[in-house]
């Protein structure tokens, strides 16, 4: 048989020969010292050229691919934000305590004490919340795990619901309706009087059921999963924004390679703005402790949700939404800030439409703060 040519040897070593050709090549090489040497040489060339080419990977920008590693598990943010939210909400409620019914507030005060301890500031939440939730046997404290374990979210949420309507009434502005679908949203505009009335109607059952006695029993508070909505809407009225809730910065901390800033859209929504100084990557994580609501509520609210969605103008496409990916129950949108040329990722348990609204708010806030806080 003819000796193997160099191309065939390389094809053989690269596994590119057909099975028959490979068998023939193998049979020949076994009995041909000359071709054995050629094969050995080819192996050397293949290995050496690979090694040489790897040297080219030290390209100017200097990054090499690694296995993807998550910096922080998403649930951590969710839990952290929930702790912050519950703490803020309960503190708010405690403030309002004087003007509210004591029976309604008594449970809230209990849980607010626990959550206030848990949430001295966003910077420490992450490290502390897990340990606290694990080590504390109290059912109320366990409820801080709201988003990680939806069923346990209800006890802490129940007082919030009860308090929400009165707070709104005190402010003279009625809160927009509770969302009934899993598309819990940050509805920033007021839904109008009819919708507000619906909201109170929707809120009422859980009040009557869970008030006063044993609010810690999850089964007794079927609608409590919706708590963040009235919570943040109550806050919205307190903050003076009936038409549009105002973002506010609640905390900021330095982390390796950047800063993390927590914004509160409302007590039910905390937003984490991460700015990485090195890679100029910014990611915004919105967390909202919204779980699915019972079907009967969903049915009641579905119609008004729909009607309200119709009244919502589409968010102005000031910046093109670049990315819409669903991660589990979470959505995220991303965009490139045209002025800073930085990438921003907004994710949360919101629909894309809602995230776009939040995005617009964040952009406005960032625009107004850019003088104060140059990035």
């Amino acid at each position: 048989m003819q000796h193997l040519d160099e191309g065939t040897i390389h094809a053989w070593l690269d596994g590119a020969l057909s099975p028959e050709e490979a068998v023939r090549a193998n049979a020949h090489v076994e009995g041909c010292p000359q071709c054995q040497a050629a094969v050995a040489e080819a192996r050397g060339f293949i290995a050496a050229s690979s090694r040489i080419l790897t040297a080219l990977d030290d390209a100017p920008r200097g990054v090499i691919p690694m296995a993807p590693t998550r910096r922080v598990q998403p649930w951590v943010w969710r839990v952290a934000a929930t702790v912050l939210v519950v703490a803020t909400g309960t503190v708010l409620l405690v403030k309002e305590r004087g003007s509210e019914s004591r029976s309604a507030m008594s449970n809230t005060a209990d849980s607010s004490a626990a959550s206030a301890e848990l949430a001295p500031g966003p910077a420490t939440i992450l490290s502390r919340q897990t340990a606290a939730a694990d080590s504390t046997a109290s059912t109320r404290t366990t409820s801080q795990h709201a988003t990680a374990q939806p069923a346990t979210a209800q006890p802490a949420a129940a007082p919030a619901i009860r308090a929400a309507a009165p707070v709104g009434a005190v402010g003279g502005v009625t809160p927009p309706p509770i969302r009934a679908t899993s598309k819990q949203d940050l509805r920033l505009d007021n839904g109008g009087a009819r919708a507000s009335a619906d909201a109170r109607r929707l809120t009422a059952p859980s009040e009557s059921k869970s008030d006063v006695v044993e609010p810690v029993a999850p089964a007794r508070v079927p609608g409590a999963a919706a708590a963040p909505t009235p919570l943040r809407q109550a806050f919205g009225t307190v903050a003076g924004g009936a038409a549009e809730t105002v973002l506010r910065e609640v905390a900021s901390k330095r982390v390796v390679g950047g800063t993390q800033t927590f914004y509160e859209i409302a007590p039910g929504d905390t937003v984490m703005l991460e700015e990485q100084t090195s890679s100029q990557l910014q990611s915004v994580v919105t967390t909202l402790s919204t779980q699915g609501q019972p079907a009967r509520r969903a049915e009641k609210a579905a119609a008004q949700v729909e009607s309200q969605q119709k009244t919502q103008p589409a968010p102005p496409p000031s910046v093109a939404a670049l990315h819409d990916a669903q991660v589990g129950e979470r959505h995220s949108i991303s965009w490139l800030d045209p002025s800073t040329r930085r990438v921003i990722i907004l994710s949360g348990r919101h629909s894309q439409q809602e995230l776009e609204r939040i995005r617009d708010q964040i952009q406005r806030l960032r625009g107004s703060q850019s003088k104060k806080n140059p990035e």
């Binding site: 040519d5 160099e6 390389h10 050229s49 040489i52 080419l53 993807p68 990438v343």
Partner: protein, 172 residues
């Protein structure tokens, strides 16, 4: 995840590496890679994705692609995400810098077709894919690769040798 995102996540690393090796400039490589995915987005269907992507990227290097800024931003974002999962390499030593310079020189010395075939092979393309991307006959890929590898290694070794001699002279 959209189709282009899947494509991006599957092939971007290899494509950027291929282009970086080809161009010697990471930013440029990423730019071309992004343009390649933009093209893929416009394509109703692609039969052999990898061969298609590498062929288009190769052509774009030649052609200097027209920009499509909006989609480019999308892909820049994805690239940013991916970059997030990367780490900075150890500080480039002088030794490594010299190796890289020699490797670049040796690669540049190859004929274009040989170079591209070799770089594609290094990214895992099989012979059929390389043939498709470079419009070669599948039977000639082995010959092309063997020639590319031999020449690359030989010219690299020649550069290495002359460097050693220079260093010897400098030392004496």
């Amino acid at each position: 995840m959209t189709d282009v995102e899947r494509l991006f996540r599957t092939y971007n690393a290899a494509l950027v590496r291929y282009l970086t090796r080809r161009l010697g400039d990471r930013d440029w490589a990423e730019e071309v890679a992004q343009e390649t995915f933009v093209r893929a987005l416009r394509q109703p269907s692609i039969q052999n994705e990898r061969a298609w992507l590498f062929a288009v990227a190769t052509n774009l290097v030649r052609d200097e692609a027209r920009k499509d800024s909006r989609r480019r931003k999308h892909l820049a974002l994805l690239a940013e995400e991916e970059r997030e999962s990367m780490v900075e390499p150890a500080e480039t030593t002088l030794e490594r810098a010299q190796e890289a310079a020699m490797a670049r020189k040796a690669v540049d010395a190859l004929a274009e077709r040989d170079r591209l075939a070799l770089l594609m092979r290094e990214e895992g393309l099989d012979y059929n894919e390389i043939a498709e991307a470079l419009q070669l006959s599948p039977g000639s890929v082995g010959t092309t690769l063997s020639r590319a590898r031999r020449r690359l290694v030989e010219s690299y070794e020649a550069l290495q040798k002359s460097r050693e001699e220079r260093e010897k002279h400098a030392a004496s």
